[in-house]
């Protein structure tokens, strides 16, 4: 069941990405991108990253994609043939992309593609990356949420009694929330400032130069 769902989402993602990369009409490309993002969100759920999946849907599907479509509409002369993408020479990008893919595959399929997993009894062992030995892939409390993170939090912030673990709760939102306000506080603040600055910057850059009439109005008001 898990595998089937994984392959379905994987297929949605890849097909969408393919259309995005190859479609001649940019509007098609945008809609294909929507499906890609949706598929990726599904993959996140498969990997126990529920909070991220929701974020992905909200930010990408709800925000960035809309922004891109607005961009398309603002820059294209609708109705004209220009809306189709004039694809230039394809072989240079193709060769480069394939080369990149080859290198990545070489890394995956190399001799020692293994990773470390923890077994149910808490011991670490090395397994092949092509197969998961985790018997409960849908487990609502991922192994790390029970041990590793909680241990770190306990060590840092007090005795076990005082630290409320998320035992039994589903999802990673509370973990992420705690980390944002503890270990990742500085990056969190920095990223807030960054987002604010980028918003202001975007506004400044995209601002239309005021027309002479508007200038006159502004002056008369002030």
């Amino acid at each position: 069941m898990f595998d089937i769902i994984f392959y379905i989402f994987g297929a949605i993602t890849l097909i969408g990405a393919g259309i995005t990369a190859f479609a001649k009409n940019i509007v098609y490309a945008a809609f294909a991108l929507l499906f890609t993002f949706f598929g990726i969100a599904g993959l996140y759920v498969m990997a126990n990253a529920d909070f991220l999946a929701v974020t992905q849907l909200l930010v990408y599907v709800g925000g960035i994609l809309i922004l891109l479509i607005f961009g398309v509409m603002l820059t294209s002369k609708i109705g004209a043939a220009d809306i189709r993408i004039n694809t230039g020479t394809r072989w240079v990008p193709g060769v480069l992309a394939l080369g990149m893919f080859a290198i990545l595959c070489a890394a995956f399929f190399g001799s020692s593609a293994t990773h470390i997993e923890k077994t149910a009894d808490g011991k670490s062992k090395t397994v092949s990356s092509w197969a998961s030995h985790d018997t409960k892939p849908w487990s609502s409390t991922p192994q790390w949420s029970k041990d590793a993170t909680t241990e770190i939090l306990k060590k840092k912030y007090g005795s076990p009694d005082e630290v409320k673990t998320n035992e039994g709760s589903s999802g990673t939102a509370s973990e992420i929330g705690k980390l944002f306000l503890t270990d990742f506080l500085l990056p969190f603040e920095v990223i807030s400032v960054l987002i604010l600055v980028s918003l202001l910057g975007a506004t400044m850059i995209a601002r239309r130069d005021p027309t002479p009439e508007e200038n006159a109005i502004a002056e008369s008001v002030s």
């Binding site: 995005t20 992905q56 990773h115 197969a131 918003l199």
Partner: protein, 102 residues
């Protein structure tokens, strides 16, 4: 074959490659930006995969969140730039925007 780490990584790799292809070949700046988004997402998939299987725990998800946030900011700024380019060059074809040469 049960799904494991490499399945995620391969999806990420394909997305990355498609993103690169889109960035290099498209003749519309917006489509180039879509390629950039694809690349960012492929990176995110890798983060999540390593978070689930690779022993980096929840820190991988944190990194992914930061990537999403930065992607949002990048999209806003990039689109603003695109609008300006369109205003100045009356075109969104990156090949025609070559004043960097001078």
């Amino acid at each position: 074959m049960t799904v494991g780490l490499n399945h995620f990584l391969v999806i990420g790799a394909v997305l990355f490659v498609l993103g690169i292809y889109a960035m290099l070949s498209r003749r519309n700046v917006i489509a180039v930006l879509m390629g950039v988004e694809l690349i960012l997402n492929s990176a995110n998939i890798n983060f999540i995969a390593f978070s689930r299987y690779g022993g980096v725990n929840i820190n991988g998800q944190m990194a992914a969140i930061f990537v999403i946030v930065i992607a949002a900011g990048e999209a806003a700024v990039a689109l603003a730039i695109v609008l300006n380019i369109y205003k100045n060059f009356k075109s969104v074809n990156p090949s025609e925007v070559d004043s960097l040469r001078d």
